[in-house]
Symmetry: C2
Subunit: 230 residues, 2 copies
């Protein structure tokens, strides 16, 4: 592991406020994965052997059932994957794949659980990390139940624009992948984009330009649904 990786990892919320001694214990057998795009790194149903920390790149968590596939979330650095599964030592509820070249650290699940069982600060940081993930997925369920496809896309664009800090930005994924993330088909997202042209959305491939005021009026974003947690 590069020392720059170690510094990066040390800065994760998961390690905020913990002692160097515990940090060293948890990361003693850490390894770095450098993965190409479209590489599956986690498979639904398996017991977690590692906690994953996303250092750079982009990850999609997804699940399959009865011949269908759905994307549950996009994960960007810094993020910890499968905290709950590692904590409970239960099978992972989702698979995960890279959407871009990505760099991850793996921490042995056993070491993580050992630290949770001995260190209050680590336990608290993990609980806070988990709280954030819980609230994110909870919002996603509300998003799915309370909004239609066009509204979900509109609000997703507004959130991306906020993250980018500009009304012009480039989306990181293809439209078909974004469609999966929003829980709709590739064809349908095309029609949703077409609808949004009336509401301040111009697209050219992955380049987006939005009229924030106009799109906000249409999308009705709500802090109880939109926007990532702290």
């Amino acid at each position: 592991m590069r020392s720059s990786d170690a510094d990066l990892i040390r800065g994760f919320a998961l390690f905020r406020g913990i002692s160097d001694a515990i940090f060293d214990e948890v990361t003693a057998d850490a390894a770095i994965l450098d993965l190409p795009p479209d590489h599956v790194l986690l498979t639904e149903g398996e017991r977690p052997e590692h906690l994953f920390l996303l250092l750079s790149g982009l990850i999609e968590s997804f699940s399959q059932y009865n011949g269908k596939t759905t994307t549950l979330s996009f994960l960007r650095p810094p993020a910890a994957l499968i905290v709950a599964a590692v904590w409970m030592d239960q099978p992972q509820l989702h698979s995960a794949r890279t959407l871009a070249r990505s760099r991850l650290a793996t921490l042995p699940a056993r070491a993580v659980r050992a630290a949770l069982a001995t260190d209050r600060a680590f336990c608290e940081a993990a609980g806070r990390e988990l709280s954030i993930r819980y609230r994110d997925i909870f919002k996603e369920l509300k998003n799915q139940r309370l909004r239609n496809a066009t509204d979900r896309l509109a609000n997703w664009l507004l959130t991306e624009s906020q993250v980018a800090g500009s009304d012009e930005f480039r989306i990181a994924v293809g439209k078909a992948t974004l469609a999966a993330r929003l829980g709709i088909s590739g064809e349908h997202i095309s029609r949703a984009f077409a609808q949004l042209r009336e509401h301040g959305v111009e697209t050219d491939g992955k380049e987006m330009r939005i009229n924030t005021a106009k799109l906000t009026a249409f999308a009705k974003p709500d802090p109880m649904i939109d926007g990532a947690e702290a």
Copy 2:
């Protein structure tokens, strides 16, 4: 508070393995709520002042947006409500109401956070409780995305049958309420039940009798979606 309540609370997973001293601190200002059916006890968007423990009865968590309402989960004892919101001291993402006469304990959020900040065992128990809630809501998102209404109902009935330990059981809520829980309209659930008659489901009001083998063959339950966590 009755001493029988104290015993009940002490048995919650949230307090497993913690010292009497910490338990006493967290529960020092606990109060008991005895609520009639259809009473709203939590409102989306408010900062949590208490952690709630459901001792008996039945609670529905729900959310409203843009004139629509959706039910996110049914909660049965023993369950802890809004652990994540209390932990992060962030607004609650959902409202909650009783579906039956219910008995709850309230623990001051401040005392809970104080204990999380000082006691490893409590922190770990809370993290495990949160992991369970996370995994439950994660499964619900998959359920929503990967199955249609009839399949969701079929699998819900199978799970209820397992909980009841019998192929004959009585559902606790009206069909319209169940429809909301499954994310569909009251009218649609009626048609879904009609479809399931072909697959081993007989209903008489709230009384259900299912042919487990036949319904299982139709519903294709999957442990990565169905069934509550530990």
